[in-house]
Symmetry: C2
Subunit: 191 residues, 2 copies
Amino acid sequence: MGVMSRWEPNARGRLEQAALALYVERGFEQTTVAEIAKRAGLTERTFFRHFADKREVLFWGAGDLQELLVSTLASAPDSAAPIDAVAAAVEAVETVFAERREFARQRQRVIAANVELQERELIKLATLSAALAGVLRRRGVADPAAELAAEAGIAVFKLAFQRWVDPDNQQAFGALVRESLAELKAVTAGK
Amino acid sequence: MGVMSRWEPNARGRLEQAALALYVERGFEQTTVAEIAKRAGLTERTFFRHFADKREVLFWGAGDLQELLVSTLASAPDSAAPIDAVAAAVEAVETVFAERREFARQRQRVIAANVELQERELIKLATLSAALAGVLRRRGVADPAAELAAEAGIAVFKLAFQRWVDPDNQQAFGALVRESLAELKAVTAGK
């Protein structure tokens, strides 16, 4: 990457932007890698140096997101209740999300228009949930509490994310997580 | 179905049993429709009269399950809190599950061995969650409570189901639902 970047400045970012613009304009299915490369002023070969396929443009961030959630949760204070430790990890995602809001909004429009991408998004969330449950178990939280706290945390993540990508919403991601957690707590308390 | 059954008694049930036995023995991927039909003493043509493909043998019940959950939830008393109304609907599934426990256990082994089937199961659960949220909205529950109560209900369903298909567990499904709901309530309360 370091060497390539010298002669193709920000190829990855340009490809990502071009892909997203085309997915929004024409639909994900109808867009080819050749068209993405052309729009970005790059070659197909360069595209495949950065992304395995056109779907990966939308999902490459999942690994980083998981790593951030896992490392934040792993370093939570021992005294924190599992649900609160998970929610704090989700809240911490704000630092990486903040500058990607416009990207996330466009990405959401693309995903909402394609059933296969929605399924991939579901699987991504289930993978995150399993990763969080794994960290909780390593922290000594027994099942089913580990699994339930992780599932509840992902439900909070989903709801906060939905609101955050809504074009009419200007609240910060962290605030939306806190709000969503409070709502989940009220609902499960039978309110 | 009525006419066919006269000359091929219980073809559907025989195909289902044969398929499941083969999926357990050889793996889902390695089993062909021809082998399933042969094991059941029927033709491939008969198989395709009952199932669209070999995956449908494992998932045809999803529609009935959704219908039962939706109709039970729709007739819950107005006074019930959304989470309790959803949990009561999940509990009501016991009536159809009870006689299918051995089938469900075998099916679970097949699904646990195949990533694609696990993904299909996730999508099935997400579809159930969306259906339950829809019923709650029609009952006048506003979002996000409708969505969160449905998601929480599905988390309870998943956990109760996991325990119910565990060969070492002999508790009834309804009891497992009540237990799982109590655990979810404790976890989200920060215990």
